[in-house]
Amino acid sequence: MTEKFNEPFPLAYGTYDDAVKMLNKPGEKVLAEFSVNWEMIKIYCSMVEDGNASYWDEGYANKQWGGIVAPLGLLLTWPMSLQWHPKKERKHYFIAMTIPLPGDTIINVATNTEFHRHLYLGDRVSVVDELTDVSEEKKTRLGVGHFLTTKAQFFNQREQLIAEQTNSLFRYYVPEGES
């Protein structure tokens, strides 16, 4: 029996030619639902067992950085959409999800990030990204699809650049009989 799945996010479907038309068009700037907060920082650090005093020790963090800072690995989390919101349709901020292609799933392939400054408790992140490359159809050990490259810029509420990220993911499907 083939199990049916709800799409993880509302992926857009179309052809490679449709995707190419989306190149180099920045998406809408998205303001994070979450402010940077110590509770989420602690949960994340507990997940990776990171005892870095910059995240846990106010005395140390105040002296070293001027306050508790957010782990850099949480950068993508702050603008994540809630599972449900009373007024907003669920929409992922990654422009990669809106690129029309045939694949019904994704896997991340590479992430390069340059960090310019820390995020502090209470900061509010905004992000804007754009598609900078889409490959022709490729076959990999996972399936058949297209590699998407996106570039994102993350800002704090003072419009200071926090980080720039180039991400590559594979949008693909598993051919019938291979899953």
Partner: protein, 147 residues
């Protein structure tokens, strides 16, 4: 906590130095905690049937968890006064529930640029199945120990 902190300074680091190895088990619980901690409910991170539908053998850690582990390997070694200027990583294979992570690294280059004291390190994340995520980081570390 502050009394237990170990700090490395740039002028104490040499090319070829080993970055101390860190290991961490990844039971199912940690993969689920990852989804919750990062607010990333993509089903490959919590639904085994969906993961198999993707061609994966089991639910797997997301990018943010791997980033956090890589950064931890770097800052456990260099100390919490480190600012990670750049992180480049490739997800060559997934890290599944049931795996044990091992992060190990090496200092590739020590240099000064723009008034900063920088150290490039490679950090490789492996499981029993081999190398999963190679990464290169540029660390900004205070130049010398305060006198």
């Amino acid at each position: 906590m502050s009394g237990d902190i170990t700090l490395k300074y740039w002028n104490e680091i040499s090319e070829g130095d080993a970055v101390a190895t860190v290991t961490m088990a990844v039971p199912f619980e940690r993969v689920i905690l990852d989804a919750a901690a990062t607010q990333d409910y993509f089903p490959g991170h919590h639904n085994p049937a969906y993961a198999r539908h993707q061609g994966q053998k089991e639910i797997y850690l997301n990018t943010m968890a791997i980033e956090g582990f890589i950064d931890r390997v770097a800052t456990d070694w260099a100390g919490p006064h480190t600012f990670i200027r750049k992180r480049q990583m490739q997800m060559r294979s997934s890290i599944y529930a049931g795996d044990t992570l091992q992060g190990e690294g090496r200092v590739e280059k020590c240099y000064e640029a723009g008034g900063r004291h920088l150290v490039d390190v490679t950090i490789n994340i492996s499981t029993a199945n081999g190398l999963c995520v190679p990464a290169v980081l540029t660390l900004d570390i205070p130049g010398e120990r305060p006198s």
